[in-house]
Amino acid sequence: MNRHEIILIAGMTAVTFLVRYAFFALGERLTFPPVVQRALRYVPVAVLTAIVVPMVLLPDGAHWQLSWRNAWLVGAAATGLIAWRWNHLLGSIGGGMAVFFLYRWIAG
């Protein structure tokens, strides 16, 4: 590891940590106003949906696959259905993965 790499990694470490830590650092000294508290309740749904939907609809990152041949779409639909019906996280993940792999195995 040369000097350039050490500086690069130290810099990336500092930047990444500061972004993650900025709010935690303030601890109890920071209380959000009610409207922000309400808004923050939407963060999980918004961000997780934003990560998943493009993965599922464009599995290769470039091409739309809005068809039943798309194992990602079928697997995610199965996961969602199980989660919606039984509200059991590990069950929905396990069931969805089973559908995904079976589907790929059969269709592939």
């Binding site: 601890g27 493009p54 599922v56 969602g80 996280l89």
Partner: protein, 236 residues
Amino acid sequence: MSHDHFPHPWTEAWSGARDSLPMLLGAAPFGVIFGTLAGPSGLSAAGALAMSLCVFAGSSQFIALTLLAGGSGLAVILLTTFVVNLRHALYSATLLPHVAGLRQRWRVPLAFWLTDETFAVVQLRYGEADGSPHKHWYYLGSCLAMYGNWVMWTVAGILLGHSLPRLEHLGLEFAMAATFTGIVVPMLRNRPMLAAALAAAAVALAGRGLPYKLGLMLAALAGVAVGTVLESLEAK
């Protein structure tokens, strides 16, 4: 005061690690690919390991490799790292009420280890109604599992590189999509939540060509804005 009726801290930590298991599988191919690509991108083996140990942020590590290979300078890489990681500020703002009362010696490592995956399961645990005072142990358990896993698969990629079976074609990444889907769907209980998800999905799809994960950040903000506005309209 006794907390005997709550899960023991170690039980919480174990649950956090266990609930992260599908995402450990999902992250494995990325760890291997990162380790494999480091050398050809101009990052030494020690540098690749150090990056996984110290930075611990998959997407910015990959983007750093691309920029390194393209000959970008330090300032560009650091600025990119900042933008790519912005969503973590949203996560820490969301989790802040739950960790604000912890000592710094907890908040520092919990911030260092905060990732998409850990955020996904930890916000769910904090949302459960039991008043367990040990939920930060659950958080810690998820962190340690994700961290150990990421470092281990980076090392595997560095050492074995192309001789590893083509892990990226096994479809393990689907585990992450399944976990996030399984977490989100039960949360879509009312119209504002549903609208937030739809808005986030639409913006994420429309902005998927934007660089530096900006599409993801914009999608998150759009979802939050739509949900919040709709909630206030319905309350009137």
